[in-house]
């Protein structure tokens, strides 16, 4: 199943709540201000990097670029995707929960 997170990890408790609710084998997609969670040298980046290896991590390309995040400075496990790929992700997974 797919978790979609859109809020800044700093402004909102749901970033942390979502991470607590993710099971191994699930997927997490960061969109909108949630991509700020990938900034280097932050506790949120650490908590994303330390998710179980079986959790698939995605981030939306337009939202990364729109917010000035350097694409070459992301954790290797993050897969950068487009909107059509987001549609595919929603099909691959039987359900999606938006936090």
């Amino acid at each position: 199943m797919l978790h979609i997170l859109r809020h800044s990890p700093h402004a909102e408790s749901r970033f942390a709540s979502c991470l607590r609710a993710i099971n191994s084998g699930q997927s997490l997609l960061l969109i909108e201000d949630a991509v700020y969670g990938l900034l280097p040298n932050t506790s949120t980046r650490n908590s994303l990097e330390y998710l179980p290896a079986t959790v698939n991590l995605y981030a939306l390309d337009a939202d990364l670029q729109g917010r000035g995040l350097a694409l070459d400075d992301l954790p290797p496990r993050v897969v950068i995707i487009s909107y059509p790929m987001m549609v595919e992700l929603c099909i691959e997974h039987t359900k999606a929960v938006s936090w």
């Binding site: 199943m1 408790s13 749901r14 709540s17 607590r20 609710a21 993710i22 099971n23 359900k95 929960v97 938006s98 936090w99």
Partner: protein
């Protein structure tokens, strides 16, 4: 029918709290098997002794008490959220079942659809 879990995350004075209850009561009225999980500031909805009239609001209590009457099967509350807020289950309205993090992760796996509100 697909089962539906509503995760209610907002404090009771916020309009989002009432709208989350509207959604689950509508789902229950349509016969959808559903549950509600109070999480984050949503657990404040369950605090006893709220006098909503003091802040010019209608109490949420009637809507909360309607949940079992409408056949909402799972009424659940997040242990971590309670703990962060210094609350215990016996301070809660309704007989909400306390769920730890791994139980919540399993719960989310188990329901067909999840809407956070």
């Amino acid at each position: 029918m697909k089962t539906l879990l509503v995760i209610s995350r907002h404090a009771p004075a916020r309009p989002e709290a009432r709208e989350a209850l509207d959604v689950i009561l509508a789902a229950a009225a349509f016969g959808v098997p559903c549950g509600i999980l109070f999480m984050d500031d949503g657990v404040f909805q369950l605090l006893k002794g709220q006098d909503a009239a003091q802040i010019g609001q209608k109490s949420l209590a009637a809507n909360l008490q309607a949940l079992p009457l409408y056949g909402v099967e799972d009424i659940l509350v997040c242990q971590h959220s309670l703990g962060e807020r210094g609350l215990q289950a016996n301070q809660c309205l309704l007989d909400a079942r306390v769920m730890n993090n791994s139980e919540i992760a399993t719960l989310i796996e188990h329901y067909d659809q999840i809407v956070t509100l």
